[in-house]
Amino acid sequence: MLKLILARLVFMAAAGLLLLTFLFGLFHAIPGDPARLIAGDSAPEALVQSIRQAYGLDQPLMTQYTTYMGRVLHGDFGLSNFSRQPVLKIVMPRLLNTAKLAGWSMLLAMSLSLLLGSLSAMYWDRPLDRGITAFSLAGICTPIFVTGILGLYFFGVHLRWLPIGGMTSWKHYILPVLTLGLAQAAGFTRMVRACMIDALGRDFITTARAKGVPERVIVFKHGLRNALLPIITFFGLGLGHMLGGAAVAESIFNWPGLGRLMVDSILTRDLPLTQGCIFFFAMVFILVNLVVDLLYRWADPRIAHD
């Protein structure tokens, strides 16, 4: 196991280096003169020239690449074009905020979908199951910026129960977490339902029923445990996609997270900041993937022996 984790960490480092190379290429693939971009459209040519020299943009590409990689490996992602703050210093607190939002939403999505999915499978093809299926279909078909804005209107503007943006008190968490969590729960529920229907149809469930095991124990212990394997994979995949959705949710609720920072930096053409955001987002995705992989091996020891 330890060897595996170590191998995976090496893979992650390699993926990180590849990603940095890609981002460096990205920086140079963007049309326009980067020095001109930093200086601004109306800046005199002399200033642009001095910036070009200060940033080493007049150096050959290979030299620029090695200096860039060297700097990044020391944790120096450069300065934001606008605030002049180190990128790392701006990104870190934002990353934490996104993690808070995604963490609570994920918790909500997982617990709700396990409950609803199991209930749906227990009452298969009956009114309760139909109702839950309709809920999840509605959730899958409604983009989060629609549900988010509707929630914002009813609870924030119309009823005035909840704040409409920011993240200063626990009340600020309710709308964003509900929007993101319910959207994810909708997809998860269908998946848990399918896995549970599959698990509850196996022979050992019939045996348990014949022995007189209570239905509650059958579903939540025997059924759920056997359905867990595919569920873990989908929860992991879902977490990655939820981080993607977080970019949209953050922009609806003015949540000071990494997703909104990334979008803002693209709109203001703040390239060093965009690079930093993409790098950290990507590393989170890779990390999540590794954790899911390890969890999967833990849940099904048979895989480890393959």
């Binding site: 983009p143 989908f234 979008v263």
Partner: protein
């Protein structure tokens, strides 16, 4: 014809298929059926609640929201159709070739798509927008490229199973060259699953286009797009909440009908799946955008 008749047997699927078709009819005729000019501003009539003249009210510039929702249907239909073609025309040949020849090329392409599939499509789309810039064509390229791995995989697995068939072996024995086999036998036999997957991927394209536009990275004003209209409407939640009605309904209904119609079509072309609708949602979940 037989397929159409079988498709029509599923009442729910038929209904949503007709709704989806209606969206495309609206998209094609949008230039003639808008009750007023979607771009004409009239500040004196700004932010008016729904009325007989303006069904969804007017926005801050006095433009008729109903007309803008109709024109947005055209914009969405155009973006999704072109980006879908983009993914198909690039993804299917790549997937087909690597699936058929196998070996190193197959392994490399598969590892690459594996790596790309770790990232949510919206993230890949956003990164592509950084390079090509926020615009309508930017959305098309971003969506087309970000969905590419899915299409490569579909075409590959279809080609892989066709390769084992006896008729391919017969063609090889008869001395057919491999481009000939790919075009005549493989492409012909994988077109069914690819058509189905294309309809199932449609909701993802629509959601992607509107999410990017909502973030300000997609369709730029004054061109209307549902996501972009919702983004503008958000600023007037207190004074003009009715502005969200039109785009919200249109967007959700389009995605819902594309989902249901795709499901039905899938069932029609592959009767083995009958009654197992839940299971088919799984692979699509992975491609979900927002």
């Amino acid at each position: 014809m037989d397929i159409l008749r079988r498709y029509a047997r599923d009442r729910v699927g038929l209904f949503f298929g007709i709704v989806l078709l209606a969206f495309y009819v609206i998209a094609l005729t949008a230039n003639w059926i808008t009750p007023s000019d979607p771009f004409e501003t009239n500040l004196a009539e700004g932010l008016q609640p729904p009325s007989a003249a303006h069904w969804f009210g007017t926005d801050q510039f006095g433009r008729d929201t109903f007309s803008r929702v109709i024109l947005a249907t055209q914009v969405t239909a155009r973006i999704t159709t072109i980006s879908l073609l983009f993914s198909l025309l690039i993804g299917v040949p790549i997937g087909m070739v690597v699936g058929y020849i196998g070996g190193l090329a197959d392994a490399v392409v598969m590892r690459l798509t594996d790596m790309l599939l770790i990232f949510p499509t919206i993230m890949i789309a956003i990164i592509i927008v950084v390079v090509v810039g926020p615009s309508q064509s930017g959305v098309v390229i971003a969506l087309g490229l970000s969905q590419l791995p899915n299409f490569i995989r579909i075409a590959r697995s279809a080609a892989l199973s066709v390769r084992q068939e006896l008729y391919v072996e017969a063609a090889v024995a008869a001395g057919a060259s491999w481009p000939d086999i790919l075009l005549r036998h493989v492409l012909h036999n994988i077109s069914g699953p690819i058509i189905v997957k294309s309809t199932l991927a449609l909701p993802g394209f629509v959601l992607g286009a509107s999410s990017l536009s909502y973030l300000g990275l997609g369709v730029q004003p004054p061109t209307p797009e549902w996501g972009q209209m919702l983004h503008e409407a958000k600023d007037f939640l207190t004074s003009a909440p009715y502005l969200i009605i039109g785009p919200a309904i249109a967007l959700s209904l389009f995605v819902l009908s594309a989902n249901m119609a795709g499901d039905s079509l899938n069932e029609t072309l592959d009767p083995k799946l009958k009654g197992r609708r839940v299971k088919r949602i799984l692979p699509r979940l992975a491609g979900r955008i927002a």
